[in-house]
Symmetry: C2
Subunit: 403 residues, 2 copies
């Protein structure tokens, strides 16, 4: 068993995305205790930085010490009680996972099924809400990572409010790459991941909860089924003792040992986002998407999702006829050190997912991706139009600068 | 918001322990995808390395992508079904947390209460097992981090077998610092943490499950209440598709995005442990404990735990009369950059916990700890004997070399 030296990949799958050297260096700094005053001060900055990215004033905004799937679970186990009806919009893999979560909490899922690759039909959801006035929660995925579809989060959160339901929103792939307007939407529980548009290491899940959501947690009739994810306990660590009003002498109750070095990384990624400006970062994702799109269009490749519903950071491309999914991805990885993503569930073997996220959303990555994909497909005699992608990307690059 | 540069602490609390530069550098390496063949090969080495430390042949041995408290929870949510009786030995904070876990799974906890700081009474547990022949599980903490007491794990696991119960063992503080003999004990589910005697970053929880434990999970009547921690699903990622028999072409089912950089760190810490040799590492923890103990004894400080039940890596010291707990720890942190731990629960303000774990278990750390503690206590005119600790430590150091 020898030390592991990873190959140097360019990560353009559905996450993790490339991690900037500043963030990797931050993670390599010496550990300090999770109750050290210096660490607690850093935690407060992480919370403040996350509030800025979530565009919220929610006091309870923090990173869960586990990946995005635990972020999803913390929302459901805290807000769903046995017997609670939960309306779930399902147009991809992660809507399906929400259903699993509701069932495992003893809730009653009411599924609004939409086609994978199509957007959530807000009117259809409104109908279901009208038919289920006793439902407690409306849950949906803002940025479906399995398809690249964006949901109309503002409309769906407004629907939830109108029907006196809480909303649970999956913003794993959107946070930092598309506007996530928690307060403007009136969203109640939102979870994300750090390994997508925040370009940090995987393993943390930023979450934010509205006052209404906290009220629901505090007035539950049953205990939260997970000790690790019980917000009533986590509040003692992330918020300090509520009985202690002296802000400079907050006491923190020990709950679990926080992942110190990963949090150093998240802190640095939030500093970098602050330096760039959230609006600029979001605009950058769109610019890079446009350059990628110009090249893919010129090659004659088709997108799964209609243009108006596409996420800039997650591009689902139909695999051309006669081309073997895995053969292409293996060549890209072996010959170009480039990772793109496979399809999930019913889209396995039918699409590739090209991520343009965080530090991966750079012109050099897009150029590599277009060149490598064209070279590989041309070598396989796939039905594409070769020789035009780079010129099209160059024109889109020009547009991005004059815009 | 500026980049965070942590103070350079010496960590001698109950964890995290100091992280060796090699491990911190490993964590700063560029990320690759969690389904990349190079990453999967590394995962296989991590599993093999963990089997060596757990001294087990258990196929299902892997690091949970979350801290030790999630490691505890993965054992209980998978093995306990509603109505199952679980006998819990409780002689510290973590036995209490086990009870919380059982209750939240709908299980029926039967608590064998022992004094905090005292060992688990095996005969008492045997009596309780005889009175509860229908109990399904016996759970106990091998190394109680809240007190520094070692349990007789071999005897307790044997009891569980004799009474046809599964055993769940907390080895968070013991793994890598004391012998954890999973196969020799016949333990069924064992969880640990990476931030103690493995000296890696917090945020991962190594676990191992026996064939009997897996059989129980596979034949459950109810779904595991946590999606994130469901072993039936995690098997697909960590073990590959059971239907695919070709070992070189294992397919891995996507479950969640693994914490790539933290796993680089764990891999490196296992490489380092392999280089040192597990037996040598365990012996080193005992040597360092003896040096620390010699110094503390010479100062006239008392241990909470009787000598024969002490863990070398977690030393609970009674706070001398008239000395304010927090004042001392604040001085140690501010003036010596040294972290030691506070007491938990009923031992708050009554003990300090001095960790001698992993990379923190070095002579230079022990020397600093003894000097700083003596200097601080002497300055506060605490009732100790000053001026003798270093000479006593030197004699013990000499003994360690001649042994």
């Amino acid at each position: 068993m020898d030390s592991f030296h990873p190959p140097l990949r360019t990560l353009m799958g559905p996450g993790p995305s490339d991690i900037h050297l500043r963030i990797r260096e931050a993670m390599s700094r010496p550990a300090i205790g999770h109750l050290d005053p210096a660490f607690i001060a850093m935690m407060d900055e992480v919370k403040e930085g996350l509030r800025a990215v979530f565009r919220t004033k929610n006091a309870l905004t923090f990173p869960v010490s586990a990946p995005g799937s635990a972020g999803m679970e913390i929302c459901f186990v805290n807000l769903v009680e046995p017997g609670d009806k939960v309306i779930i919009c399902q147009n991809g893999a992660f809507g399906g996972r929400m259903q699993e979560n509701v069932e495992r909490c003893g809730g009653v899922p009411i599924v609004v099924a939409c086609e994978w690759g199509a957007p959530i039909d807000v009117e259809q959801v409104d109908d279901i809400c009208r038919q289920n006035q006793d439902a407690k929660i409306l849950a949906f995925v803002h940025a479906e990572t399995s398809t690249g579809v964006r949901a109309n989060a503002a409309a769906l959160c407004a629907l939830a409010r109108a029907h006196h339901m809480l909303s649970i929103v999956d913003a794993v792939t959107s946070l930092g790459g598309s506007p996530v307007d928690v307060d403007a939407w009136g969203a109640d529980a939102v979870y994300s991941g750090t390994q997508k548009c925040l370009s940090c290491t995987p393993g943390l899940s930023p979450v934010t909860f509205s006052a209404q959501a906290i009220e629901k947690v505090r007035t539950r009739k049953t205990k939260v089924q997970s000790w690790f994810l019980d917000l009533n306990l986590l509040l003692g660590y992330w918020e300090g003792d509520a009985k202690n009003k002296n802000k400079n002498k907050k006491t923190r109750a020990y709950h679990h040992t926080a992942p110190i070095n990963a949090l150093y990384g998240l802190h640095e990624s939030l500093v970098m986002l602050h330096e760039e400006g959230l609006d600029n970062a979001i605009a950058r994702h769109t610019k890079m998407h446009n350059v990628l799109k110009a090249g893919l269009d010129a090659m004659g490749l088709q997108f799964l999702v209609a243009e108006e519903h596409r996420l800039p950071q997650l591009n689902s491309i139909l695999i051309p006829d006669g081309v073997q999914d895995a053969d292409v991805r293996t060549r890209l990885l072996q010959d170009f050190n480039l990772e793109i993503g496979a399809g999930l569930g019913p889209l396995t073997g039918k699409i590739w997912r090209i991520g343009v996220m965080g530090h991966s959303a750079r012109f050099e990555n897009i150029t590599l991706c277009l060149s490598a994909l064209e070279t590989t497909l041309a070598a396989m005699q796939a039905p594409i139009t070769p020789g035009k992608a780079l010129a099209a990307a160059q024109a889109a690059y020009q547009d991005a600068y004059t815009a």
